[in-house]
């Protein structure tokens, strides 16, 4: 990224009082961040053995570096929520963990082993990482049911996948009604539901979720967070989530990180961040 100077042309009225521009948020956040939290602080937030541990991650796309040295630690069974302005690099963090971005330096440990050298397609099988992408990831020409079955592609027995799919249908009538329909014609929210349920079929250890609530109706948002809560509390999964609905996200998560322009600006327990007035002003729109 090139550092384009922020600011507006002189003839544009600059009456941003209640609202902040992308740059203004960034600027303010950068100031707020200062040096950013130290590694020890992050480790202190982590309970137990780290299930995911990122050190000094520099990553981006092609030659463009987006993340300039990110650290991230979350313990087994913990949930971590990344918040930050649009374009801060939140999705890029998840991309790097799954191998969709180009990692230039740093290490990514999941479950104790370095996954950076693993092909993306091995990360679910070998490292138990499941990923719910921010944008569309259904197989449009397969039926809803086939999509769910594909979620169990790595299972040795087809019957297991089938059972898992049935459990999903039991839970969401909406999907059950559409099980034989092409997934490509689902509405935005229906599709999101399908994507999340599909990612859970393999019962992964670590779940990466990029904005789970995007496009969902209020009741589904609640529902999705309930599912995630269940996964974490009952099944002891580790969850790393990006959420623009920062209030929801921080309420839910054990740990909150604030990401600004590819750097870590703040970190703290979810509830604590939620109450931080600066965070509130900059990220919660309070």
């Amino acid at each position: 990224m090139t550092a384009t100077p922020p600011g507006a042309p002189p003839d544009v009225p600059m009456d941003f009082e209640t609202a902040l521009s992308v740059d203004a948020v960034e600027e303010a956040a950068r100031e707020l961040a200062g040096e950013g939290p130290a590694r020890q602080e992050l480790e202190a937030l982590c309970a137990g053995e780290p299930a995911i541990d990122i050190r000094g991650l520099r990553a981006g796309y092609g030659r463009m570096e987006i993340l300039h040295g990110i650290d991230l630690v979350a313990g087994q069974g913990q949930s971590l929520c990344l918040i930050g302005p649009n374009g801060a690099g939140k999705s890029t963090v998840l991309h790097s963990v799954f191998g969709f971005a180009d990692v230039m330096a740093g290490s990514i440990n999941v479950g104790g082993s370095d996954v950076a050298r693993l092909a993306s397609s091995r990360r679910l099988a070998d490292a138990g990482i499941a990923y719910v992408l921010q944008d569309n990831s259904v197989f449009p020409d397969m039926t809803v049911e086939e999509n769910l079955l594909m979620g169990g592609f790595l299972l040795d027995r087809r019957a297991d996948a089938k059972q898992a799919a049935e459990r999903v249908f039991d839970r969401y009538e909406r999907l059950a009604q559409r099980r034989h329909r092409r997934a490509g014609v689902l509405s935005g929210g229906e599709r999101r539901l399908l994507e999340i349920s599909r990612a859970l079929i393999m019962e992964p250890d670590v779940l990466l979720v990029d904005e789970p609530s995007i496009g969902l109706e209020p009741r589904f948002i609640d529902m999705v967070f309930e599912i995630l809560e269940d996964l974490q509390r009952r099944d002891g999964k580790t969850i790393v989530m990006v959420e623009q609905n920062a209030k929801k996200g921080l309420e839910f998560a054990d740990i909150g990180y604030v990401l600004v322009s590819g750097r870590l600006a703040m970190a703290g327990p979810g509830d604590a961040l939620l109450e931080d007035p600066e965070v509130g002003r900059l990220f919660l729109g309070a």
Partner: protein
Amino acid sequence: MSGHRQPLLMLAVAAVGVALPFVIPDYRAQIAMLWALVIMAQTWDITGGQTGYNSFGNILFFGVGMYASVVVQRDVGLDFFPGLVLGMVVGAGIAAALAVLLGSMILRMRGHYFAIATLGLGIAAGEIAGGWDYLGAGSGLSPPLFPAPPGTANLFFAYLYFGVAALVFVALAALYRTRFGLALNAIRDNEDKAEAMGLHTGVYKVTAWTMAAFVLGLVGGAMGNMLGFVDPRDTAFAGATFGVWMVLMAILGGKGTLWGPVLGAVIFHITQELLWTHLLGWQRVALGVIIVGIVVFFPQGILGWARTRWPARHEHQGHGSERA
């Protein structure tokens, strides 16, 4: 190539173009061919690079121009030069008319469907010409010979094509600075969205293709006389050579840029003349390897590659020549 250096560069190229036929007079035939290739690449890029409609069939317009011109010269009974001029104009006119007609049908297709449809058109045109007795069918036609000593013919064509290439360049440079240029880019990036913004995408596409067709018609109109022989599949509708080369040259240089096609054509032609003629039978292997190499390693073309290599210069251009 930043904004303020652009005119300088153009001047330099123009000077070279004017001087070249006298600096290396033995190479006049190749120089003429070079500028013809430059024009082909430039015009291909109007739809291919700027609009995102990759055509494999622009050779159609070249061939139509060539045949129309030679037939006019054969049947109208003018002297060489008036005949040639009339032939070129008629050729360009027919090519443009054809572009409007065919374009309004096939430019509705998206992406690769369009590419293949144009491929079909180009080949079909050659086949039809090859069966049509009025056009000499498979035996082809022989245009009138240049009425002056041998060296002058090549000199004439070298300057003719250089002139056209320069004009086309200046015209395109201006065109791409207009909002029409932006509209073409918008179609390339997201045609549905462009439509949703109220753009008359169909009209723009046909216009762009027609411009290319007109110029290609002109080029073809003179090429018959330059080569001295017109044949349906190998000179006029020469899909496997000129037809593909124009695409390749634009991509090699960097499609969607102003200088890319020019650069690509120059490099391609020089390589071909220096290398291939001496490979005696292996030149097509070389061509194949070069094509694959280009698209694997320089898919953005030389200019695109340079941009990722030195992104700062590119940024600089973004501010310098600010098109918007």
